[in-house]
Symmetry: C2
Subunit: 212 residues, 2 copies
Amino acid sequence: MQVAIALFPRLTALDAIGPYEVLQRIPDLDVVFTGEQRGEVRTENGFLGLTVDAAFDEVPAPDVVVVPGGVGTRELLGGGPYLDWLRAVHPRTRFTTSVCSGSLALAAAGLLDGLTATTHWSIYDFLRQYGAEPVQQRVVEHLDRRIITAAGVSSGIDMALRLAELLVDDVAARAAQVFIEYDPQPPFDAGHPSKVDAVVMERVGEYAKIRS
Amino acid sequence: MQVAIALFPRLTALDAIGPYEVLQRIPDLDVVFTGEQRGEVRTENGFLGLTVDAAFDEVPAPDVVVVPGGVGTRELLGGGPYLDWLRAVHPRTRFTTSVCSGSLALAAAGLLDGLTATTHWSIYDFLRQYGAEPVQQRVVEHLDRRIITAAGVSSGIDMALRLAELLVDDVAARAAQVFIEYDPQPPFDAGHPSKVDAVVMERVGEYAKIRS
């Protein structure tokens, strides 16, 4: 099975690399990084380059699609090769998925019309404008529609473990989890706005201005 | 402050990208991906290319060093530019850190002599051969020696949150955690060999043979 992770300029790296790292360990799955054209794309702040190995026309029938997020999603929403490719491949995927603001691209491609979906906590209203019904949940599945969306950035790891279970079996998912030693022990319990105070949210606002 | 993430061929991507994603959001920190030479390095299985933007001689005085792991660490341990650079920059860093088997490189550079340290669960004995005292712990700090090591792959995210606290303050760490919505909800509790059964460990062994 082929897993296509569709990159674009100004993406958020962990949105893509979390699922990659879980899925690449499972021999039944091959991962390809695709995009509008071959070559390097850079993350939001320019600190990191990732390679697109295959242009969209070289990936016509992926079994799984992963759409990462990042401020660069905004450039995709008006239409173009990225949305065209999503619409073209989705009818034959086993699962079409997104992480973080990647769900905006799925929605703009018309794939989330009337469906509940999740995204980064900061853009529920923005997602609603594109026809989806945002819900505050880490992973939202519509297995009958073959659509799975994940919340902000790191949630793609959790989603990918579920994908591994759906694509192979729960032993594969657990094996991948052991491999990446995903036994989270964050030093703070601060993974959502509901878990932090106003001082932290003010800092989040400052950082967003500078680095978004 | 400059954070240098030192790449090498056949690395594990999430070891590097986890800490990157946490730290890149904090305006006080700039992240640079360094390596023996500029250009692309590929992950263990070749599925992903990451760009080295600055050769080691262009990064002579980083404030923080992050050494990721991956099967490619084995090629570093005999000596060469990678270990030379670690030895050269460590005396002036605020923190020299590793994720997963990256601690082998720190140890081979002589930076962990007689210290407790952590690494991927599968290579405690290997780490011991290089002079460190392996302990089963997600993050091991020696603040007086400015050394922090993290366990397998995903543990770099937890370590980086602690680094953010040490480098800036706990508000910065919490803000970064909110940003990346790091509120883990893995579908399985299978993040360590102690948490899975023999069937899963057998699968881990199969996967390791094919994809290491």
